[in-house]
Amino acid sequence: MGRTLAAAIGLASIAAATVASAEPPAGAASCSGCHPASTRVTSPVPRLAGRDQAAIVKAMQDFRSGQRAATVMDRIAKGFTDEEVQAIAAWYATQK
């Protein structure tokens, strides 16, 4: 039951993000410390804005499971639930 409610909260926040789109969901604002928000920056770390939602989710799942090699993303991905990753990915997909 706790899980159902948590999932409902997750969906609600995705819906809210899609409608309002102003405020990033929990955790999303921190990503731009390393993932450049601006196209001006040269970095091996990819921009997240406008990326495919499913691709971001898959990357986070693979970092978390160890399927995908990482330097820090394995350690960071373990700090997020599936619902949070979905919300973050949905929000970045709508950003320019």
Binding site: E23, P24, S30, G33, P36, R40, V45, I76, K78, G79
Partner: protein, 421 residues
């Protein structure tokens, strides 16, 4: 864990309802937010506030025309980088529609901030991001005059260059001593990155020299990684003396560059004293610092636990498990901005999740990192999410260390662009 988060949400609602004055936006006026301090925390927050809600009138109060970044300043000390690469102006921040008031904030009351010239800036919400001040009363013999002989170089700028010049002027075979403070202090891995890059300089240019770290602690950030790298890169050159082996410096004599411990005295050719610290001065003036010298905050909004409608972010804040780093400051700034924007409309702030990533260079092509994910705990602190975070793997190949060194530089370009670019 889910249940405790929901409990927290409920607590947050109750607390913010109790503290909220009439939201400015609900009254139809453009809400005014003043941010004091233009570092990674303050400048990021000012920008994030404008992004969150363009109706907010944001003023950034900063005494200096140029910001000099601490991250990578150890590379300047080690001769690997020029100070100009650390410096940023506020031109692009101002171009975002933020009023940049180039002045020292001298007083704070419940309605306004007073500047050195007597001007008053009224606010609906105030964000203090003052960084650190040196505790000049904490280490006998170490005052501002002593810092001209034994630089701290813990606020980047002239002090950074002074330490570099002293190293450059030293004859080969000299003893360099770094004194590292007890927790908490700005940039926990910083003293050890600095030791590494000074050791790199000595090994390259003055190989008969020695470097000693006198430490007031028995453990430090990324310790095993640093020590493994030191054994590999700087054997016989770099010695770490922990608290339990007499590392705590109890007084200094600047005239002779001597550092005293309970176990003896060390006369250095170059001495870098990283002294005890506290929140920047305005935190004390505003009444948001407690007996520790740092600022207790609500982990959802970063609102002070001591003064309503004043928020504290960055190194000055007591942010639970989050370290005092530029990444953490930037992450807190964006979280705080989102919360302030909501509070100004009378809405309830969302429960945040924050990230920290800190890179350290052990050599120009040898980087290591620590990362963490944080959320408010039931006890009202920012706590690490269980199972997340940690340091770079021990025993990783040099290619991994080289990759992290490149990522460190990319991180600096990215975060300084977001904050100042």
């Amino acid at each position: 864990m889910k249940a405790s988060r929901r409990e927290f949400l409920k607590l947050g609602v109750a607390a913010s309802t109790a503290l909220l004055p009439l939201p400015a936006l609900a009254q139809g006026a453009a809400p005014r937010v003043v941010v004091v301090g233009g570092g990674f925390a303050g400048a990021s927050c000012a920008r994030a506030l404008r992004q969150a809600d363009g109706r907010i009138a944001v003023t950034l109060v900063e005494a200096n025309a140029t910001f000099t970044a601490c991250p990578f300043s150890n590379a300047v000390i080690g001769g690997l980088r020029e100070l100009s690469a650390q410096q940023f102006t506020y031109d692009r921040v101002a171009a975002d529609g933020i009023v940049v008031a180039r002045a020292m904030a001298t007083a704070v009351d419940a309605q306004s901030v007073t500047l050195a010239d007597g001007a008053r800036l009224p606010y609906d919400r105030l964000v203090l991001a003052p960084g650190i001040d040196i505790r000049w009363d904490a280490l006998p013999g170490y005052d501002e005059a002593a810092a001209a002989q034994m630089p701290h170089a813990w606020r980047a700028g002239e002090q950074t260059l002074l330490l570099r010049r002293q190293l450059e002027a030293m004859d080969d075979g000299g003893l360099v001593v770094i004194s590292a403070p007890a927790n908490p202090f700005r940039c926990p891995p910083g003293p050890y990155e600095r030791a590494s890059l000074i050791a790199h300089y000595l090994k390259t240019k003055k190989p008969k020299s020695k470097l000693m770290i006198l430490d007031a602690k028995d453990a430090f950030s990324k310790q095993r990684l640093f020590q493994a790298a030191w054994a590999e890169l700087y054997p016989g050159l770099l010695e770490w003396v922990p608290l339990s082996k007499g590392g705590a410096v109890t007084s200094v004599d600047a005239a002779t560059r001597t550092l005293m411990t309970d176990f003896g005295r060390h006369q250095a050719k170059v001495a870098n004293v990283i002294p005890p610290q506290k929140a920047g001065r305005i935190a004390d003036v505003a009444g948001v610092a407690d007996g520790t010298g740092w600022c207790p905050i609500d982990p959802v909004t970063f609102e002070s636990k001591l003064q309503p409608r004043i928020h504290v972010i960055g190194d000055a804040a007591i942010a639970g498990a989050m370290p005092k780093s530029a990444f953490a400051a930037n992450s807190q700034a964006k979280t705080c901005a989102a919360a302030v924007a909501r509070l100004l409309t009378g809405a309830t702030p969302s429960v945040p999740k924050l990230i920290n990533t800190c890179y350290s260079l052990v050599a120009p092509d040898y980087g290591i990192s620590v990362a963490g994910v944080y959320q408010p705990s039931a006890s009202g602190q920012l706590a690490e999410v269980p199972g997340s975070g940690g340091v770079s793997p021990a025993g990783a190949p040099r290619a991994t260390r080289a990759a992290e060194a490149l990522l460190a530089e990319a991180w600096f370009r990215t975060i300084t662009d977001e904050t100042f670019g």
